[in-house]
């Protein structure tokens, strides 16, 4: 029997087995484990069976806690059940995990191990999560490569059934979960051979059934709980042997042998490292390299971490070992050491004390931390660890891979050390997310992996921005098995798919001497040299690179590929492969054929037209590839642009800029704030220049309505009124015209675009209501190429920023045009181009930002709002602005309520002190402070002045040497005086939070009556994790976990809140009615109680061009799908109907006219028209019913 080789990533490797050996799969999306659930759901939706011939049932729950509960229930009812999770998700499962283990239940949880949020959230990989679950009683089995994930998933399943211990099977998030590698597939026959059906039946038999009833889950008293807890010991004692048995059986079936602890290295090694997970790949490579050069080193790889078999651990070491470094990929602050270190110390000491250790001498053991949050772990670092062990007193509790200049935990290493061999193609590709680079590289790996005898590996590094995202692909191909679990450090091929990256990043940093450099260039081979920055020219000459160019964008336009240059660049890469290794892995002819086969495989489902278009690109690519004759002298007179401008604050210069330059790894510990606190307003220093075209204002026809300013998702369009007489002289091209507002007719009006921050989404053009009468194709704002305008408009932008903001108390902020005269305190976020959420945040920040505290649920808004390097929440000229924090995904409402309660408590304490010392402080001032109404900006401004007076007065009194008690009170009052100015607490999050994982908390907070403002940015899907269904997902839409179209109706969150009677509730859609949106935000904020605003947010996950987002919002409202309404409890006090239906349906706009313009609905029409028709009919019924119920509510007298 031949083994089938497949090229897949770690998540798929786990999911393939899990889907084959389970009956129920309960999941909840969380990075980086989500693809496992999505694949399982997809396979079940397609009817793919498990090894018993039935199709596993996949259920998406409302949270990981819910998934664990469902898993527990399914297990208790005898089903083979699994789940996939990571990080906070695993933490939410812990209570159930204790139960599942305590009840000796067989299951395997597959975990893509990820950092647990501490000073910050991180989606990347380490062992913090699994280590937090190590005390639940679950077994822990570690995989360190894609192949192992596939293998261990099965071994774990076989072992859990026999041992009756539940297992966490884990592998490193991203490094393994997302690495693509060529592996040997396990066939069904092997799976069947590994899984003992008798054990499956026994598991089923233990399930609850009224046909043989039992009771499980008692409450026990002090008399027996302890003893009952000890009953499981024999199972834990037996488990390691059972796991080893499963490993041995697996080896007999596949030839791949694993042990509880595997040793590699010199048989007489003196220095040995111990670790588990993906780092073992790099260690394995380094150990072999060093042993070949005579070093007595070795490594113990931990496979089964729990139950920890001490004897097996100790016996894995060679007897010659003298020094051991135990490496943990986690941090346990305040502990005696990290967990694996402590376990190894215990094992060695215990075995030594018992006389069971094989060592000649008791080895010295040190512990170290590495690789937190996917920090690179390279052969150079590993060599550094071995070198460190050579010292007489090796450093303990060390770190490696960072510079710790605070507590000096880090060890030094020689960065130049490398174990990479030149027979491996090591190719690094810099691309834009939108140009298809990663997709093409994934195809390349499959082409090499599946069409040649070579091994192939792909690792991908993504951006923290969603618009203009940079991707870096690391691809290795070679004749030997590739185990290099670190990014390429010496590339023999570098491709830069975007010419402008040359001015932003050091793309040739990784190129080794003599490497091949492929550049997508608008300039041909004869002229390109003159357009390269000086340092790029220097590197090309110094490293003697072979330099090729292709104008991929021109060619893509020719073959109608638009901005997708992936196929062209991929073809050029294959054409140059010979260059890299001396002989190509595939002949050029075979490569072209293979690329075309891959195109058919990838795209044929999408239609022949797409296949033809890509094939045309392949056919034309090589002819457009040209070698550049590299001059021997550097001629360029320009350099890469600095990451941030010279006027940026010191922290931004020294810290933020390094991250922007993609060299944040070099920042030492001392550079980082210790408690996760960062300055706001730093996006403005990161000039990304990602727009090909930017808006240009036609001042002559503009009616100054402010709509373009309001809808701009990145707040790059601003407008101001200014006094022309007092303004500084403007740059020559700066535009302004007399204001059209009658209240400000003597002022000058200007509308300015930030040219280097725009993403080019064109929403502004779409919303502009003015057409040029002579040429109606032009509006009052039109797109034009950015490059020629960049410098001029950047100067104009800088000048514009010097113009003072209008006094907000003079503006009628309930009008769109006037509200947009205020500066936003949220700008240039990392959201997608055309984002439907950020305009709401921009507006909210304009209206209330100078006194807002924001609790932000994890999700898109916490990522574009708080993902480093830069922060979009900003400050006004007075240094005031939103204070923002993210706690978790599930607790955001409670987090915000905590903020409110803290403020309320301090307001009460401060007012009590004011009353108590009224006479001393001053009756007039205190009364004014206490009875200030603060109903508008003018009144709030007056209160700010009073608080300033109060502080001055308190300083005077404190200097006057009063009693100690008085001094204490006055100091206390001064420290909290700011709360006397009205604060606005905003609880912001998406529908995944509000409708699902956070709903329980949200419900509680809304019911509390506290004055918080909840803004739900409702995209009707989990956008941040890639489009999974939430309870806000509408019927008939396709989403992940609703591949066949969501069959149930969307939850009416608003009506649920209205039922309390004391909550301000509104539904808004700025694209349909911007004035309504502003009114709602103001009413909600003014309401002295909880308010809930449900905001329609168009999203990239809806499957259409975002520039039509506003049109779609309008269609959603006019079709009756998204009625706009307000429920204001204050009106009930006036005996008026609190509910007002604020939108009208247009009979000519049918539901299908709205929905079938979006891919999420059209996909069902295309894939299953019958289901689409059935669900459309039901969805129309939903609209009718809901409209009727709202109409009835509005009609109440």
């Amino acid at each position: 029997m031949t083994t089938q080789m497949i090229t897949i990533d770690g998540n798929e490797a786990a999911a393939r087995i899990a889907h084959k050996v389970n009956e129920v799969i309960a999941i909840y999306p969380i990075t980086p484990s989500s693809p496992m659930g999505e694949l399982a759901d997809q396979w079940s939706a397609h009817g793919d069976p498990n090894i018993w011939g039935s199709v596993p049932m996949v259920v998406e729950m409302q949270a990981e806690g819910g998934a664990a509960g469902a898993v527990h229930g399914a297990l208790q009812t005898g089903a083979l059940t699994t789940t996939f999770t990571a990080s906070q998700g695993l933490l939410l499962m812990i209570p159930n995990m204790y139960k599942i283990a305590g009840e000796l239940t067989s299951t395997v949880f597959h975990v893509a191990a990820r950092s647990v949020a501490a000073q910050a959230l991180s989606i990347f990989g380490d062992h913090s999560d699994v280590m937090a679950a190590r005390n639940t009683g679950f077994g822990l089995l570690a995989s360190s490569s894609v192949q192992q994930v596939h293998d261990m998933a099965l071994i774990a399943q076989a072992a859990t059934l026999e041992a009756r211990l539940p297992f966490i099977h884990f592998f490193d998030g991203f490094r393994t979960s997302h690495e693509i590698n060529k592996i040997a597939a396990i066939d069904d026959e092997t799976i069947r051979a590994m899984i003992n059906d008798e054990l499956v039946f026994a598991h089923r038999q233990r399930g609850l059934s009224p046909d043989h009833p039992v009771l499980r889950g008692t409450a026990q008293n002090p008399d027996v709980f302890f003893q009952a807890r000890e009953t499981v010991n024999p199972f834990y004692d037996a488990a390691p042997g059972i796991v080893q048995g499963a490993m041995d059986k697996f080896a007999a079936l596949t030839g791949r042998q694993y042990h509880l602890f595997d040793y590699v290295g010199a048989p007489d090694a003196e220095r040995v490292v111990v670790l588990m997970g993906s780092g073992t790949g790099a260690v394995n490579e380094t150990v072999h390299y060093l042993v070949e050069r005579g070093e007595k080193v070795g490594a113990v790889f931990v496979r089964l971490y729990r139950p920890f078999d001490m004897a097996a651990c100790v016996n894995a070491f060679p007897a010659t070992v003298e020094k051991i470094a135990v490496l943990d990929r986690t941090k346990e602050p305040g502990s005696a050491g990290e967990p694996l270190y402590l376990d190894v110390v215990s094992a060695v000491m215990e075995q030594w004390a018992n006389g069971d250790a094989p060592f000649a001498h008791l080895p010295k053991i040190v512990g170290g931390r590495y690789g937190l949050s996917s920090k690179e772990f390279t052969p150079a670092m590993i060599k550094g660890i071995f070198d460190g062990l050579s010292a007489d007193k090796p450093k303990n509790h060390f770190t490696v891979g960072i510079i710790d200049d605070v507590t000096h935990s880090s060890i030094a290493y020689d960065e130049a050390f490398s174990t990479e061999d030149d027979d491996v193609v090591r190719a690094v590709f810099y691309g834009l997310g939108s140009d298809g680079t990663v997709g093409a590289n994934k195809n390349s790996i499959k082409i090499i992996g599946e069409n040649t005898g070579n091994s192939a590996q792909g690792h991908f590094v993504y951006d923290s921005k969603k618009a203009g995202a940079v991707t870096v692909s690391h691809l290795r191909f070679g004749p030997r098995k590739i185990t290099s679990t670190y990014q390429i450090e010496r590339a023999n091929f570098v491709a830069c798919h975007q010419f402008n990256f040359l001015e932003r990043y050091d793309v040739l940093r990784l190129a080794q001497p003599g490497a091949t450099f492929l550049l997508n260039s608008p300039y041909d081979a004869d002229t390109v040299w003159d357009y390269l920055p000086r340092s790029v020219q220097e590197t090309i000459i110094d490293k003697q690179l072979r330099f090729y160019v292709v104008d991929a964008y021109a060619l893509a336009a020719e073959v109608r590929l638009g901005r997708r240059i992936n196929t062209i660049m991929q073809t050029c890469f294959f054409a140059l492969m010979e260059q890299v290794t001396g002989k190509p892995l595939l002949s050029r002819k075979d490569a072209i054929e293979s690329i075309k086969m891959a195109i058919v495989k990838s795209y044929s489902k999408r239609g022949q037209a797409v296949v033809d278009m890509n094939n045309a690109a392949v056919d034309a690519a090589v002819a457009h590839l040209h070698e550049v004759t590299v001059p021997q002298t550097v001629t360029s007179m320009f350099e890469r642009v600095p990451a941030v401008p010279a006027y940026a604050p010191e922290f931004v210069q020294s810290v933020t800029a390094r991250m922007i330059e993609r060299v944040g790894d070099s920042l030492p510990v001392s550079a980082m704030p210790a408690d996760g606190t960062y300055p706001t307003g730093t996006t403005k220093y990161e000039k990304r220049n990602i727009a090909q075209e930017i808006p240009v204002w036609d001042e002559d026809i503009c009616i100054q309505c402010g709509k373009c300013v309001l809808v701009c998702p990145h707040q790059v369009i601003r407008m101001k009124l200014f006094d022309p007489d007092s303004a500084e002289p403007a740059p020559e091209t700066f535009k302004s015209v007399p204001a059209r507002y009658k209240e400000f007719k003597d002022m000058q009006f200007s509308l300015q675009v930030a040219p280097e921050d725009c993403t080019g989404c064109t929403l502004c053009v779409e919303v502009c209501p003015v057409k040029n009468k002579k040429q109606p194709k032009f509006k009052a704002i039109n797109m034009a190429p950015q490059a020629p305008l960049r410098q001029q408009e950047a100067e104009n932008w800088d000048y514009f920023l010097t113009l003072p903001e209008m006094d907000r108390s003079q503006l009628a902020l309930n009008q769109v045009k006037y509200s947009q005269l205020l500066d936003p305190l949220f700008e240039f976020s990392g959201a997608c181009a055309g984002c439907g959420e950020t305009p709401y945040l921009g507006l909210m920040s304009r209206l209330f930002g100078d006194r807002a505290i924001i609790a932000n649920a994890t999700g898109c808004s916490s990522i574009y709002g708080g993902n480093l390097p830069t922060t979009p929440w900003s400050q006004n000229a007075d240094g005031r602005g939103p204070a923002w924090s993210n706690s978790l995904f599930e607790d955001n409402a409670e987090f915000g309520m905590g903020m409110r309660v803290a403020l309320d408590q301090r307001i009460e304490a401060a007012t009590n002190l004011l009353r108590q010392h009224r006479e001393v402080i001053g009756v007039q001032l205190v009364d004014a402070l206490l009875f200030a109404d603060q109903i508008d900006d003018a009144a709030i401004g007056r209160q700010r002045d009073r608080v300033a007076q109060l502080k001055t007065r308190l300083d005077e009194l404190l200097q006057a040497n009063g009693s100690a008690e008085m001094a204490h009170d006055l100091s206390n009052l001064k420290s909290m005086a700011d709360v006397l100015v009205k604060k606005s607490v905003w609880i912001v999050g998406g529908d995944g939070w509000a409708y699902d994982i956070g709903y329980g908390g949200l419900d509680h907070v809304l019911a509390s009556g506290r004055n918080v403002n909840v803004l739900v940015l409702d995209t009707e899907v989990y956008s941040n994790t890639g489009g999974q269904m939430s309870k806000a997902t509408p019927r008939a839409a396709v989403a992940k976990f609703a591949a066949a179209g969501k069959s149930t109706r969307r939850k009416d969150l608003g009506l649920l809140a209205i039922s309390y009677g004391n909550i301000y509730v509104a539904r808004i859609a700025f694209g349909a009615n911007d004035a309504h949106t502003i009114r709602v935000l103001q009413e909600a904020e003014a309401y002295d109680g909880p308010s809930l605003i449900i905001a329609y947010s168009h999203c990239i996950a809806h499957g259409y061009d975002m520039k039509f987002g506003l049109e779609q919002q309008k269609a959603a409202v006019e079709s009756g799908y998204w009625p706009l309404y307000r429920y204001n409890p204050d009106l009930a006090l006036e005996e008026k109907n609190p509910f007002s239906l604020d939108s009208r349906r247009k009979p000519q706009v049918k539901l299908e006219d709205y929905i079938y313009r979006e891919g999420r609905y059209r996909m069902l029409l295309q894939s299953n028209p019958e289901a689409a028709a059935r669900l459309l009919a039901l969805a129309k019924g939903d609209v009718e019913e809901r409209w009727e119920s709202y109409t009835n509510l509005a009609a109440i007298e």
């Binding site: 239609g607 989403a1039 990239i1100 996950a1101």
Partner: protein
């Protein structure tokens, strides 16, 4: 009364054939057409451009936003297959129509590429269509393309398709050819089994309120029949191919005129869209009544009787007609 006729070699019980329209999208409506007496039907067109657009759109929304942000490498689950990115839905429709109807089913194709015309024509034949109508909907907007080049496109497409399929092929004529007679002859020489007069190109309207161009569909009226009527009358008996008159047939009188001019079949859509498919019954009834009242033996006796070669005043179809008509509008009288 014998109304039978032969079109594209297909024996039809009468000359009434519903032409390509949205009505032909539903099998139930096709059945009603047959019940009402239709002798055959031309299905709505398979538009290669539409398929391509659907394909590109699907590709775009499955691709957009993917592989750029680590947490969301895609946004949609992949379905096992998609229908409108290929001809499958159309081919299915042919199959269903064939199994539901006794009358011949003529498919209609609008291609954009040589490969597309050939590929889809073959697939249409394989799906069981009795004949194929080529709907070349081409507006030569370029200022560089000559009339000869435009004509050659029609000839080439017809040749390509004819060499790929064995079912009869009709071609829907463009009313804007400079030399319709010559063009008709060339198309027949290139293998056309039938010519359909004429393709009715929709003309967009202007929206003054929104300063925009708007697509606009206006149903035909009987007066529009004059143009095809003239050309069929001119060509009858002079070229060896089936002739179909489409555009402007609303009454039995219109249908009789079409046959009298020389048409083998009278195609209609606007009338059925406006008044329902059972209008076919009325029209057929009216035709029979007229033939009986006027003591015709069969419809065939009428066919071509008022064509140019058979009328007493053949010049009436030529330029004099125009001059006389214009002359009648003497401004002095208004």
């Amino acid at each position: 009364m014998d109304l039978s006729t032969t079109y594209l070699g297909l024996e039809l019980k009468n000359p009434i054939v519903p032409s390509s329209s949205p009505l032909t999208r539903h099998i139930s409506t096709l059945r009603e057409m047959e019940d009402a007496g239709a002798a055959g039907v031309v299905l709505y067109s398979l538009f290669e451009e539409e398929i391509n657009r659907a394909s590109h759109t699907l590709d775009r929304y499955l691709t957009e936003g993917t592989e750029l942000y680590a947490e969301a490498l895609s946004y949609f689950p992949e379905a096992p297959s998609y229908r409108d990115v290929g001809p499958e839905a159309y081919l299915d429709h042919i199959r269903k129509a064939k199994s539901a109807l006794d009358m011949p089913v003529i498919a209609s194709l609008n291609g954009v590429s040589t490969g597309g015309w050939i590929r889809y024509a073959r697939q249409i034949e394989e799906a069981g269509a009795d004949a194929l109508e080529l709907n070349i909907y081409y507006i030569p907007t370029s200022l560089e393309i000559s009339s000869a080049e435009v004509e050659q496109i029609y000839i080439d497409v017809l040749r390509d398709v004819k060499s790929s399929v064995s079912i009869p092929v009709a071609l829907k004529m463009n009313p804007y050819f400079s030399a319709i007679g010559t063009m008709s002859r060339r198309l027949v020489e290139a293998g056309a089994n039938g010519l359909v007069f004429f393709n009715r190109f929709y003309q967009p309207d202007l929206d003054l309120e929104n300063l925009d161009v708007t697509p606009n569909l206006i149903l035909s009226n009987s007066a529009e029949m004059r143009l095809p009527l003239r050309w069929i009358a001119l060509l009858y008996g002079r070229i060896d191919t089936s002739l179909a008159l489409t555009t402007g047939i609303h009454t039995s009188e219109d249908a009789l005129k079409a046959v009298a001019a020389g048409a083998d079949v009278a195609m209609l859509a606007s009338e059925l869209l406006r008044n329902g498919v059972y209008r076919i019954q009325d029209i057929l009834g009216g035709m029979k009544d007229w033939l009986l009242q006027n003591e015709y033996e069969s419809l065939d006796q009428l066919r071509g009787s008022l064509s140019q070669i058979n009328v007493p005043a053949p010049a009436a179809f030529e330029r004099a007609n125009y001059i006389r008509l214009i002359g009648s509008y003497d401004p002095a009288y208004f």
